[in-house]
């Protein structure tokens, strides 16, 4: 238990806050993007914005797996469950992502489609073994942290010859999304990144070096504890003040420069990089997602069912796209908290607790009232 307390000491937080305030240069803004939804959640959950001087502005990034999943991808999964009669397995949050015509996997399930929530890929394998005569499809989403378990499941399926199991692969890549954000011309001006925690334990700190080198943006990899985030902000303020742009690692207790080589090798064996992939908010991003390698093509649901991806526009009122690019904030959306709430999400950012809109609604919306 000490373990948790160590990272949640109010006194340490106050100390870090005072140092950050003291080191911010007068008249200068520090616009920092926390890439990960995990950080967005921690910042809201602990009310960290209240500890920071006004000069530090935190901007939510696109690192929330269900947030960046475009409608067309959810439609694909719904079509498989409804029209092809498959058992469609996926993680809990994905069930509620709004799809075309007010649908979602949860609604499809209520209408009779066989949609099942799983906690891990082991659950998927169990379902496939228990239903040898049914097509079982795993809708696989997530960044580099959820990819290795999917790779393991595919290898296991090949080993056991679970030939009715396939994967609808929507795994995406963090560095590609960071490139996309920096590459948008006229996009959000940023002074630095709070780098991902769990993703970095897998990919290591090296993949962020181009952002420091080519874009002159400092990156500080941080753990998900509130003190990690405060410490990372201080490190970023110092880099910016010094005119440095480096990749620094605040999360040394879990992240190494090389990352987890075993996990990387597994992913490498099973997946190749797609030429391009559509993200909600970021549009089509080259080399930003994974697909199964040709030798595992029989486990690829897109090929197996001939399901081509069809892009679908977001709900007109929803500002998720601009929010995911860091250009707008949840409270800038006209239907935030009225038509769109966590119980009845219109856009994907209101679905997962890591989504910017859900985090702001759940923890931070009193600030809008105070400001109004």
């Amino acid at each position: 238990m000490k373990y948790v307390d160590e990272f949640r000491s109010g006194a340490l937080a106050a100390g870090l806050a005072a140092r950050i305030a003291a080191e911010c240069r007068p008249g200068r803004e520090y616009r920092l993007m926390e890439f990960c939804g995990g950080h967005t959640h921690a910042i809201s959950r602990y009310g960290l914005a209240d500890l920071l001087p006004p000069a530090v502005r935190l901007i939510h990034g696109p690192g929330c797996p269900v947030c960046v999943l475009p409608i067309g991808r959810v439609d694909q999964a719904i079509a498989l469950a409804r029209d092809h009669g498959v058992i469609l397995c996926t993680y809990a949050d994905t069930l509620r992502v709004p799809a075309s015509r007010g649908s979602s996997l949860l609604r499809a399930k209520a209408d009779g489609a066989d949609v099942r929530m799983v906690y891990s890929t082991q659950d998927v394998l169990k379902i496939a073994r228990a239903n040898p005569h049914r097509e079982v499809v795993f809708l696989a989403i997530g960044f580099e942290t959820t990819t290795p378990p999917t790779a393991v499941a595919v290898l296991q399926a090949a080993h056991e010859d679970l030939h009715k199991l396939s994967v609808l692969c929507d795994h995406v890549l963090t560095p590609a999304a960071m490139h996309a954000i920096l590459a948008v011309t006229g996009g959000v001006p940023l002074d630095g990144f709070i780098g991902p925690a769990h993703v970095s334990t897998v990919i290591g700190s090296r993949p962020y070096e181009p952002f420091a080198r080519d874009y002159a943006k400092p990156v500080v990899i941080a753990g998900f504890e509130p003190l990690d985030v405060m410490q990372a902000i201080l490190m970023l303020v110092r880099q910016i003040n010094d005119g440095r742009a480096e990749v620094e690692n605040e999360f040394t207790r879990a992240v190494t420069p090389e990352g987890n080589r075993t996990a990387q090798a597994l992913v490498e064996r099973v997946f190749g990089v797609r030429d391009s992939f559509e993200w909600r908010g970021l549009g089509s991003v080259p080399h930003s997602a994974l697909q199964l390698r040709p030798e595992f093509a029989r486990f690829d649901a897109e090929q197996r069912f001939g399901q081509a991806y069809r892009a679908v526009a977001d709900n007109k009122a929803c500002e998720c796209a601009a929010i995911l690019r860091g250009e707008k904030r949840p409270q800038d959306c006209r239907i935030f908290g009225t038509a769109c709430t966590p119980d009845n999400p219109i856009g994907s950012c209101m679905v997962s607790s890591e989504g910017a809109c859900a985090a702001h609604f759940t923890y931070g919306r009193f600030r809008d009232v105070a400001a109004a």
Partner: protein
């Protein structure tokens, strides 16, 4: 008593079957040899369709609660003790002294009689300890697969304290919010057992009858306005209910809310927030600010309130936000639970 059933019930090896709910001899035998024998008291012995109660006082309080829990036996209790405590506490939170309970059992075909006996014995023990009598009951049996072992519904009747009214709409700006002890123990006892989590010292449910603690609090003379036991949905949900009923806001102090180390660690592991985890032996009280110290002292002087704390203050707020100053020093909303963030646990 005469024994028209031939051999006594084979509790050690027997199982519930459909005949135990069919209204015939088997059912009568189950009621007589297990329920009536274990829960015995003069009112139950009346043996009629209902119990005739010697009602004293003017105002009575009645509350009912269905109990569904998996696992049926958990560290610190079982569905039997829980079914007594849950309803006793609902009556107690009204400010009444609980006296009588009814108990309705829905049994699943195939359920081991030995387990049923364990549950009924535990129920009898909990009732005795709480000074309440189970005065009437019912048993039904459902086919295998249509129940979860045992469901128990209890209804409680209690005698109201003279001159007192407590209600969820009575909180006023400035009032103090008190909590009787550490939160999350019941929910995490169940959840860690379900998930197979192991700790050096297992997390034990806090299930307990709270009317003694309530009496101690009310006897202190503090102006108590609202009492609630934060069961399903936890402290966060209960406070949101009070805030919306009373049309007020609240400001909590995270650092003042007691949470056991093991509970916090288990919550962390499962990604849960202890504020939303169920309790079965804790109460929340809203009382006049000037009486807070007196009320707190009364709670702390009782064995079930040793770690009682003042956790926040009621505020005027048109939006009815329950807010909290976090241990980090920042502020957040403590919202209603949305969707199905937590598995149902009680």
């Amino acid at each position: 008593m005469s024994r028209p059933h031939g051999r006594p019930l084979d509790i050690r090896h027997g199982r519930v079957d459909m005949s135990h709910g069919a209204g015939g001899r088997a059912m009568a035998q189950l009621i007589e040899e297990l329920f009536a024998a274990t829960l015995d008291n003069p009112l139950l012995r009346q043996g009629n369709d209902g119990a005739l109660l010697p009602a004293p006082g003017e105002r009575l309080v009645m509350a009912t609660d269905s109990h569904v829990v998996s696992p049926l036996f958990f560290a610190g209790g079982d569905i039997g003790s829980l079914a007594v405590h849950g309803t006793v506490n609902d009556v107690a939170m009204m400010g009444a002294h609980p006296r009588w309970l009814s108990a309705a059992f829905v049994l699943e075909e195939g359920f081991a009689l030995a387990d049923l006996q364990r549950i009924v014995v535990s129920m009898a023990g909990a009732a005795r300890e709480a000074g309440v009598a189970v005065v009437t009951g019912d048993t039904k049996v459902v086919e295998r697969g249509k129940g979860d072992g045992v469901f128990i519904t209890t209804t409680g009747v209690g005698v109201m304290r003279a001159g007192l009214t407590l209600s969820g709409d009575a909180a006023r700006p400035g009032d103090a919010i008190l909590l009787s002890g550490a939160i999350g123990n019941h929910g995490m006892a169940i959840m860690s057992q379900r998930q197979g989590l192991e700790f050096d010292a297992p997390i034990v449910s806090d299930t307990a009858a709270l009317h003694g603690l309530v009496a101690a609090l009310l006897d202190s003379g503090a102006a108590v306005r609202v009492l609630r036991d934060p069961t399903r949905g936890g402290v966060a949900t209960t406070l949101n209910e009070i805030a919306s009923q009373s049309q007020v806001g609240m400001l909590l102090e995270e650092g003042a809310i007691p949470v056991d180390a093991a509970v916090e660690a288990a919550c962390e592991l499962l990604g849960l927030d202890p504020l939303y985890v169920a309790n079965e032996g804790k109460l929340l009280a809203v009382c006049a600010a000037e009486d807070a110290a007196r009320a707190l002292a009364a709670l702390r002087a009782h064995p079930l309130g040793l770690r009682a704390a003042r956790i926040g203050t009621v505020r005027a707020d048109a939006h009815g936000f329950v807010q909290m100053t976090t241990r980090m020093g920042g502020r957040r909303v403590v919202d209603w639970l949305s969707g199905e963030q937590l598995p149902r646990i009680c």
